[in-house]
């Protein structure tokens, strides 16, 4: 994947995450601030475990993963959109309450 494609990936991620977080924020009343986008291309397990490790070291062993499908009128994009909130994030109080 070249630089332009990676940059496009980052922007798609940025837009998707921002709109998703806006809805989540509206529904929960918590303010949620996304970090700048980053692109990693590697084995899925390597990426997810590294993110999980970073989240889990000082916090709970439990992670919340929200799974999503992208589609519009004429196509479904083969992609996964996973949200792994930092356990320290305000939003976790909302999930804990559920």
């Amino acid at each position: 994947m070249d630089d332009v494609a990676q940059s496009a990936m980052a922007e798609i991620g940025n837009i998707s995450v921002a709109s998703f977080l806006n809805i989540l924020s509206d529904q929960t009343g918590h303010s949620i601030v996304p970090s700048p986008p980053a692109v990693i291309i590697d084995m899925a397990a390597s990426i997810l475990s590294a993110v999980a490790a970073n989240t889990m070291e000082f916090a709970s062993d439990k992670l919340i993963i929200l799974d999503t499908v992208f589609k519009d009128a004429d196509r479904i994009i083969q992609a996964k959109f996973w949200v792994l909130p930092n356990p320290d994030a305000n939003i976790m109080q909302y999930f804990k309450a559920k």
Binding site: M43, A44, S46, S49, N54, E57
Partner: protein
């Protein structure tokens, strides 16, 4: 003989004395895999640990094999139970990459680096020297240990398996 792939997932220790077995840790990112092998008895074992130490946890860990510091002694115990002899054990480590290096990731904890450092420390405290290692870098790895021969291989994305 068909290889019998036995996945060693995160927080798991798998030991074997069955020569058809291949112990595989898929997609090691910042995780580290430690492998022991007794060439005479053909006993092998692999640990796939996520975090360096359980010391940062408030409570006793539900699964010690998730941590390098607790997992390595457990791995040793289990290969010895299968008949391996400590003095003969061939020790290799693999993994511990820094996956989250882009500027979007703030406050990451160098877990890969610390996993490897902890593995080296614990192994040296147990009196082992490391025969081979493939650690660090920024790419994920898949590590395999062939119980029949004691050969170990490492593969990164888009590359062929290479011996470790």
């Amino acid at each position: 003989m068909a290889d019998n792939m036995r996945s060693v997932s995160i927080g798991q220790i798998v030991v074997s004395n069955s020569v058809a077995d291949v112990l595989v840790a898929y997609g090691l990112g910042s995780c580290v895999a430690v492998s022991f092998y007794d060439p005479q008895r053909k006993v092998g074992g692999m640990l796939h640990a996520l975090l360096p130490s359980a010391a940062n946890k408030n409570s006793a860990p539900d699964n010690p094999a998730k941590f390098v510091d607790l997992g390595v002694p457990l791995l040793l115990e289990q290969v010895l139970k299968l008949g391996a002899v400590q003095e003969r054990l061939v020790v290799r480590i693999c993994g511990g990459a820094s996956m989250l290096t882009s500027p979007g990731f703030k406050n990451t904890l160098n877990i890969g680096e610390r996993n490897v450092a902890t593995a080296r420390k614990v192994l040296s405290q147990l009196g082992f020297s490391i025969k081979a290692q493939d650690t660090g870098g920024n790419s994920g790895r898949t590590a395999k240990l062939y119980v029949a021969t004691g050969e170990m291989t490492v593969r990164t994305m888009g590359q062929k398996e290479r011996p470790l």
